[in-house]
Structure formats: structure tokens, C-alpha cells
Symmetry: C3
Subunit: 446 residues, 3 copies
């Protein structure tokens, strides 16, 4: 073997040049540990219309199985794992009254309001009754969306923060702090008359690499061929670069959401119009002004997108350590039925095909393309980040400081045993792992 | 954080109220260890008609690959893993005479009767010949079913128990011990003129949770919507409760099957007709009297079901730690061809659609619904059992005391490496893991 | 328990009779460790026609992701994992000029010739530029095949051996050493005017058991029903047996390929015409004379097969520890267009259906039939080899001595995490794990 140093190499040698050097990495260790997500946070669970009166649905967030039921308009959420033999109650909903949900297998019946085991259908005097139960999850329903506070079993009711602490920064109340002369104040899902329209679907990658893609300022290349770009005759820059010592504002006010706001389209970020080496040059830049911010537990806001008076929210809700539910939501203030109809029409005809699909599909695939690199830990150690990655690095740090808990790896729940035979059978049937419980719906055909 | 104790909680706090407290659990530790089943027991392998004269089939029980061949009516069973390169001989049967089976790959030829390597097709003088071999498994064929004694490689021939030790209690010889004034004596598969009709299929869950479902007295809810219930105008109770200090008889006679007999439809169990809290009340109870018992290694008997003079047997045969072969068999004494025809007709037209499917399908899905909870061990530790669970708890204890061996986790056999590439390919082809060997049947098309 | 020794048994007792006893096994431990293949060797990557001018393809060998691009006829190969976020560049090829390949996600741009990070599309002054890069792999293109030297990241350029060191022995230069009076000298892929025609496909088993099947002299049984055998009225022996003290020549010349040559169809191997015990007797033996040899890193040569003047090469290229790319290639010297046309015609009409499929399909399935036995290590310890297995044992030893490195288990690369969610989704879509990168080809439909 010769002693000439080869020109090829990987992370070890170039650590010194990485933006995410060892010292930096140590500042976001909790984030690296959060493969199953951050617990004790508010997450979107369903669109309101997915849970009509009387309906029961089962989902999973951060490895926690959750059943939701709507009674007289109000939604209840409980741990969806019977204390008896562990089946998911949502797989075959059975409710004898408006105050309880019963397990379809042996009739264990839980109060909707406090989760206590209140009776067993055929065993009404058992000593377990009143002495056990399932965790309940606070629910908030706003603007057509159902949010659930996903918590550890022993997280106290009185410590539950308001939903607004886990939703994006609001305007105009933050307009002075984060001025945006280029567009009208973004509406909030919490505003009066706010309407949220959107879709959600399962992405087969970890929620963190999904989230980091959401506010990534350096991946414009992925979108250069999108129809919306060309239909609207945009001329995009090659990218944008931070040129200010504080291109990103970290927000960690005691009484509000924790996250970061990016000063895009200000003098803190500069569009890149040329790469001389590659012979690339952009003339007549013409694009859309927007701004992105992200708050715990992983909620993106894109202001002024895809049009004025509309804001796009995204969530990357952890299901397991390798699946997330991807939420793409447009919010607009609609004060009349006509406003609502127009928004809905435009949503169906323009936003859904060109933005939620089209544009966002590129991001969905990009996140999945990272999965193999990150899933065994390689990526978290070996990635070589650069100056533009100030965004994910800032996010990792603020998320590490302010999350309310790191979800433990799921045990005994759907998709936790990766190779379970029941999971294999579903694959053979053409069903990829997903967000919803599979209902037992044809067992009574005889 | 407040110091008020939350109302939500799981197992840890309610252990004291569980029927399966720590002391109880320690009494069935061997059962908890038996994920791959109990070895050195008799198991059903095939229906007689599945192995016609000359046929060769490969199956797997307790992680042991087994090949069966019928010659001049007699069935032989050998370990289905060539000592040379480990392929399954059953994948491409090759037999040069009536006394041997040869491996299709290199011609290693084993005696059917003692498993010895008796020659190698193209290497008839190798020193390995006569000095190695594959384990043989005793076979019994009764009433249209083929049973195999699945044993460890070093289990001696002279210690093999009779098949009857691993089959249900018989009548009338046990009628005094277990009186049943409500119905005629149940026939046994070992009786003269007994006919066994049934089906078998793969369930994607562990054999233990499958078995426990079989004699579970508390899951009537699962069956309340079944067609057979409504077609026959049955009015089921909400459930039945043990009200006697010995609701279940443990049977552990030295010379016979080991298991338990439940005193259903006696004064030891009481139907539950009302759940006041839920406003449920049953009037005019009208059902079928039956009785369930279970013996090692996991054979259920339902007497007087689905009709008089018929008995239903079920087996939950471990394939791996997360798959079992579900056997549903009806037995009746048929002394004439006409009897046999009538039984077969009723089996095809009534029992198969309404009982084996229909009714039992509900159980199959219930067992699979428990799989995720139990597969990583969570369920065995966290389940909160109640008074009606005296049945599974009794079974776990008696099975822990009397099994003849705990099967070791499969190595080097079909489905033992959960993620093997060959398994993945089968999933992509739409084939879920199953009981039978996949035959190499199209390789000679050119 | 009785103290009579059972007749059944497995490896432990028969170790003394095995050809691969403990001492023998210790001589090929490196081979047993090489589940992911031998690294720092030349492997076939693509047929030339699979990479036309301008094309980009991604593959994986020994757990190393590799992207190939052809520019002005010349082929470049680089590690196909962007240093930034680890995505495979080949999934969505993006090249701005003839000297580089850029990552489609964030525009990281690498020199084709030395792998250095030469610019970032929108970040042309980052300090990482020039200070990191991806490993490059030497490429040779001969006779219609593209070979890549798959190396560890720190393997020095100056130590790269010539391609001929990893290709079969050549003739006539070895004719004296290995005489073959029965047929004309086999052509080499390195000869002038050599044409290589063939196919490659993914086999779902480990590369070693695939390779050992290739030169296995004892598996004639597998082929006895093949159409080519019967169409040509061959009468095959039952097998062939080594009868000389050196039935195989080990080749380990300093300056050339390392491997073994089998003295088939000489007095060192004897056809077996009878197995008295099984009543098998071959009359009028009539077959094809051929000879097999194998060299590191796993390249088979079958001389004089399937016809005179043709030679068949096979490679078993490790993709992961449970997948290999199976290469079946026929080589012939074609000095004119007419020669080439005739060879191609015969290849399409005869060799492909009857040899590459047909005959070789039987081998492909045989290799997969061994996978479950070997994948968890059972086979490597428990297999009971015999005299005819002098071939694989010799190969294991020579491979253990002369390989240039044992590939480490893949991390962060395609198919390394066996249960990754993205892999599961592909299975649900009916796609088995394979050799090529799945292109992101429909994300821009909107």
C-alpha cells in the first residue's frame, strides 16, 4: 500500500469544514434522539369532516394509538388499546351510549371523559372496574381541523398548554416583530371565520427529515420543473443565501409558540443569480414573495402562499420512527358562504393539483429519498451541512431546547414490530403501512 | 409540574387489581417462553385427502420443517432440510423407490423409516453415508386426519406417548367425571367410524393468543352479529361468569391428556343477563348448550356444537412465533355411507359457511387484532386480566406444568429470518407467509 | 428418559464424517465473514447498451451505491450518495456540463474525474467546496460490458490491479498449464473482437451460495429435465467424482487472477454411471465436454459451452448480504458484422431460452432454496459436505487467502435497513428489492 493520501473521503476528514461540527451536533442531541417524535404536544389528528357525528376513528401519533369519537358534536380522544388484551377499540367500534366506548372483544367499557374503566359488559362487578382506565387526550376543533394533545400517560391535565402554543406565529400581533411590507397579514387558523382546507397522507420517512425539507431554503432545484412555476411564468433564483448575522429569528417567548422565523425576501437573505462555474445565470427574476417559519412540534407556515390572503400550513406528524402523516393545509378568512365557496373552488381546481400535489409531491419524494441514509443513524452523523443549512440547524437546536418530551419507541402498538406477520400479510395484500386503523368490516358477512 | 396524581394510568398502578398479579404470572413463565410452541407433542399436519398415494408435501410446525410422503398407504414424516446444503426436499419431490426420499439438488437419499442417509445418487461410497441422517417423526392417521409427533432431534422413540394423550377427553368414559345431562356423549376422533371434516388455514398471530380465544368464555360480544345466531333465533346472554370456587377442572392424570374442562351450563357458571349501567337486558335467553375443554398442546373441544352428536375440534398449530395453522374440524360417528354423505352435505352447506367461516372468522380476526400487543412481549406483561379470565390463566398454568418441551426459536428454516430477501420477494408477489412449502414447479419449462 | 441413543441426529455427531470438519472450516473463516462480498475488486456493473451516451444509472455492489454516467463515450463511476443529505444522485439525474454531476436536491456538484465537490449550485463559495467529495471508482469497458472497481473509500489509486486480474484464465496462454484436447481454446472477453452477449437479473440469495452453485460438479440432477438436454439427446451421467489427489488446480500466481480450475473430463474426475442401491444405471453416456473454473471475486467460466468457440461467464455480484446480481454472459470472437449477426441470432433464439433461462433458471431457484438455511448462519456451521464438495471448499480457501478486502455491512444505503418503511411500501406496490435505483420519474407531472 502506498502512503499517498487518496483524494476520496467521507465525513471524518471533512468534519472541520462542516457547518454541523461536533460542538454544533451536541446542541441538538435531544432532536437526534426524537425518532418517534416529541410528545406532550398538540397535533392535527383529523379533518372535521372525517369524523361526522357518531363516528369512531383510530389513528396513531408518536407511537401512541388514539381513538376518536364524536358525540353531540364534541370529540373525545382516548388511548386506543384496551387494557385487557390490547386490541384497538377503533377496529370495530362499539358504543352503547353517549358517555362511553366499549371494546368489541370483551366489552370493557371506558368513560369518554376521563378514560376510566366504568364497566365490563358481562362482568359488571369486577374489582378492576374503577381501578384502571386508558389515558385521555385533550381535543380542540378549529376551522375544520381536529387537534389532539398527545401526551404521556402521566402528564397532568393542569399542565396542558393552550393549542396556540403549538401553532404558528400570528398576525397582525407579530407584525412589528416580523414586518412583511410585501404582503397582507397572514391569516391564522385561530382567527374568526378561518377556513382550513387540505389533505393528509402518509409519507414513508422519518418526520424530522420531512420537517426539515419544509422550510429548507436551499432546495429550489427540486421545484424548478413544477407546472405552477411555468404556468405563472415565474423565474426562480438558483437559491437564496443568508448574508446577515441573524438570518433567522429564534422565538422562545415564555407564553407562546417556540420556533423560528426566517427573514426571507429581506436584506438578510440574498438571491443567488449566477453560478459561474456551471455557467448558470438568472435574468429577470420573477417570483412569489413568501416567508416560512416553523414551530414546535413541527408545524410549518408559509405566508402569502400560494396567493395573497392565503397561508399554507404543513405538519409532519410522527406515526412511528419511519412514517409520518403529511398534512398540507390552506387557510383563508371567509366571512360569507360565497367566500367559502370561492375558496373551496380554487382549492379544488388550482391549489390541490398544482400545489398540494405537483409542487409538494416533489418534496414528499425528496424526503423519502433521504430515508435510507437517516434510518439507521448514518445520516445524523455523516451529513455534511453547509451555510444554507442554518435553517435546519437552528430548528434542531430550538426543538431540542423547548420540546415537552421525547416520545419513547412504540411497543405493543401498530407497526412497532416491523416484521410482524400481520404487517407482512398487509404488504402481500398491497397495503403499505399507514395512519388509520384497518377496520374489521367484513367479518360479519356470515 | 403539579403534584396531583393524574387519573390516567396503565398496568403499573393497577397490578394489584389484576387477576394476573405477579405471583400468578410466575406460575406460567414457561408458557410465556413458548413463543415457538411446545415441542414433543402430537399435532395435526394434513387432512388425509391432502396427501394421496405417492404425494409429497412440506409443512412447518414449531419451527421444524417436515416433509410427508405416502407410500402404499403408509405416511412417513422426516425433517425437511437436507443435511448437505439445507434445502427443503419437498420443494421438488424426487423419490427413486418406495423406501427413500432423495434431495432434488445433489441426490442425498434418506430412508423413510429411520431417516438415515442411505446413499447419494452420484456418490454412493461417501463416508457420510450411514453416518448421518434426518430426524423422523412418528405419524398416526385417524378419521381422515394425519397427525405427526413433532420432536426434538434427540427425543427417544421409546418415550413417545400415544396420540390419545394429546387429544381431547373422551366420552362416555369420562361421563361420570364430567357429567353433561344436556346432551348426548360427544364422539371422539379416535372412535370407530369417526369422520373428521374440516379446513385449515394460516392465521397471522401467535398460537397462544389464538388458543386462548378458542375457549374464552367472555367474548360472546364478538359473535353477537353472526348469521348463525340470528338464523337460529338464538338469544345469547351478555356473557357468563364463574360463581363457583372451581369453575374449571384441571385434568392432569398421569396416563392421559393434560388440560382443563370448563363447567359451563352448570351452577358453576352463571349467565349475565343485565348490565344496568349500560341499560342492557336480555329476555328469553335461548341458546345452544355446549361445553369447551382444551388439552395440550393446544387442542380445543367444543362438545355438542354446532349440533347434537357433533363435536368441534380446533388446533392452533405453531408455525413460527407469529404464525399458526388454524384447524377447524367437525367430528361425527358415521356408520354407513349414507351417514357419511349426509354429514358431508351438512358440513358443506351449513357448517362451513356459518360456523367455520362466519362464526370462526370473527375469532380469527380477533386473534390477529391482539398480535401487535403481544408480539414484542408488551401484552404478556401489561394485559389486565379479570375474573372471567380464569380460563386462560388456568390453561397457562397447566400448560406450563405439563408440556414436554419448549420449542427453540427457528433457525435456518422457512420464515425464521423475518426479513430475508426471499421472503420479501414473496410479499411483492402477493404471497403472505404460510404453512406449506412453495413448490418449484415451473423451472423446467425450458 | 431412556439412555438408548436415538438414531436421529444432526451436525454435531457427524462432524467427524464431514469433509468440512473444524480444521477445514477455520481455513475459510474470511469467506464466512464475507456476507456483503469482497471489496476492492472489479465487478460487472452494466452492459454497454444499458448506458448510452449521456445516460445516468444507479446500482449497488457490495453495499456500495454507485452512479454511472457516460460522457463523450467515456464512463465515470462515483459513490451515489450525496455528502450533504445522503440522497442518491441517480434517482433524478441532473448534469449541467460534461465534467460534473449535480445532486438534484440541493445542487451539490461533483467532478466526474476525481469526485471532489466542485461547487454548489446556489452556494458557490461555501467552505465545504474543494474540501470534500465522493469516492470515484475506476471503470473499464470491454466487449460490450462495463466493469467497475468497487473499492473502499481509502483504497489508493496506485494499488488498483488491472481488470484482467479479476477475470478468468485466458487461452491459449494457459493451454499448456491446463490442456484441453477436446475443444478449441476458449475465447476471452479481453480478446480482440470479443463480443459479450447476456442478461443480468437479481437473485434473492447470498452471493456465496449462488457462486458455489455455479461450478458445483455434483448437482447434475437439477438439470436432468432441462429441454436443452433432451432436445440434443444428451445422456448425462448421475454425476462425476474426483478420483485424483489433485482434481482441482488452485491458481495463485502473483500476477494474475486467483482461483481454481477443475480437471473435468480428464482421468482426475470419473463419471458415475450407476447407483446400485437405487437401481439407477446410465447407458450410452452422451454429453457435452466442458470445463469450469472460477476466479475472484466470483467469476465463473464454462469453456466450450453451450457450443464450441463459445464460453459462458457468470458473475454473482453482491448487492447486499441477501441479494446478488446474476450475470449470464456468452462470449465469442466475431471478426465481421456477419459473425456478430449470427452470434446475436443464435443467442436470441437458442442460448437465451434454453441456456440463460431454462438451464440456468434451475440454478437460480436452487440458490434461493438455500437462502433460509444460510442467511442466519446456520448453514455455514451445519452443512455436511462430502467428497464432491472439494470444489466449494477449495474455492472458499482460495477466496479467503486472496480477496482484497471484506465488505462491511451496508449502512445508510439502499436495502441496508431491511424493514425501512420505504422498502415496505415498495413491496406493497409489488416491487421486490433489486439492483437498480428507482428513478423519481413522475413527480413533475404537475
Amino acid at each position: 500500500m502506498s502512503d499517498i493520501k487518496p483524494v476520496r473521503r467521507r465525513a471524518s476528514e471533512s468534519v472541520e469544514h462542516r457547518t454541523n461540527d461536533e460542538r454544533t451536533q451536541s446542541q441538538y442531541q435531544p432532536y437526534k434522539d426524537a425518532a418517534w417524535g416529541f410528545i406532550n404536544h398538540w397535533y392535527p389528528a383529523l379533518f372535521s369532516e372525517e369524523l361526522p357525528e357518531g363516528a369512531v376513528e383510530g389513528i396513531q401519533i408518536c407511537g401512541v394509538p388514539i381513538v376518536l369519537r364524536r358525540v353531540d358534536g364534541k370529540i373525545y380522544a382516548l388511548k386506543d388499546q384496551c387494557v385487557h388484551r390490547g386490541v384497538r377499540m377503533s377496529a370495530k367500534p362499539m358504543c352503547f351510549n353517549k358517555k362511553t366506548i366499549s371494546c368489541w372483544y370483551h366489552g370493557f367499557t371506558f368513560n369518554l371523559d376521563d378514560g376510566k374503566l366504568s364497566t365490563i359488559v358481562a362482568n359488571p362487578n369486577d374489582r378492576l372496574i374503577g381501578n384502571t382506565g386508558v389515558t385521555t387526550y385533550p381535543v380542540e376543533e378549529v376551522a375544520g381541523m381536529v387537534f389532539v394533545f398527545v401526551r404521556q400517560d402521566d402528564f397532568p391535565d393542569e399542565d396542558i398548554p393552550p393549542l396556540s402554543h403549538d401553532l404558528p406565529f400570528r398576525f397582525p400581533e407579530n407584525s412589528e416583530k416580523f414586518p412583511h411590507p410585501l404582503w397582507p397579514s397572514a391569516p391564522s387558523i385561530l382567527d374568526n371565520d378561518a377556513i382550513a382546507l387540505g389533505i393528509h397522507r402518509t409519507g414513508q420517512s422519518n418526520w424530522r427529515i420531512a420537517c426539515e425539507n419544509g422550510f429548507d431554503n436551499a432546495h429550489i432545484l427540486v421545484h424548478k420543473d413544477n407546472t405552477i412555476v411555468h404556468a405563472l411564468d415565474w423565474v426562480l433564483p438558483l437559491g437564496i443565501l443568508p448574508v446577515h448575522e441573524e438570518p433567522i429569528a429564534i422565538v422562545e417567548d415564555e407564553d407562546g409558540p417556540k420556533g423560528l422565523m426566517q427573514w426571507l425576501f429581506t436584506d438578510r437573505w440574498q438571491p443567488v443569480l449566477e453560478n459561474e462555474q456551471l455557467g448558470l445565470k438568472i435574468d429577470n427574476l420573477k417570483g412569489r414573495f413568501y416567508r416560512t417559519s416553523v414551530v414546535l412540534p413541527g408545524c410549518l407556515m408559509v405566508e402569502n402562499w400560494p396567493e395573497e390572503h392565503v397561508v399554507q400550513y404543513e405538519w409532519y406528524v410522527p406515526i412511528t420512527d419511519d412514517m409520518y402523516e403529511y398534512w398540507e393545509v390552506m387557510v383563508r378568512i371567509c366571512k360569507s358562504d360565497e367566500d367559502r365557496s370561492k375558496f373551496k373552488y380554487r382549492f379544488d381546481r388550482v391549489y390541490t393539483p398544482l400545489c398540494l400535489h405537483g409542487f409538494n409531491d416533489c418534496d414528499l419524494y425528496a424526503r423519502e429519498a433521504m430515508e435510507e441514509f437517516y434510518t439507521d443513524g448514518t445520516g445524523w452523523d455523516d451529513e455534511q451541512l453547509v451555510a444554507t443549512d442554518v435553517s435546519p440547524i437552528s430548528w434542531r437546536k430550538v426543538a431540542s431546547r423547548w420540546n415537552r418530551g421525547i416520545a419513547k419507541p412504540g411497543r405493543g402498538v401498530t407497526n412497532s414490530t416491523k416484521t410482524s406477520s400481520i404487517r407482512m400479510r398487509r404488504l402481500a395484500e398491497g397495503k403499505a403501512p399507514g395512519y388509520f386503523v384497518e377496520k374489521i368490516n367484513d367479518v360479519n358477512k356470515f
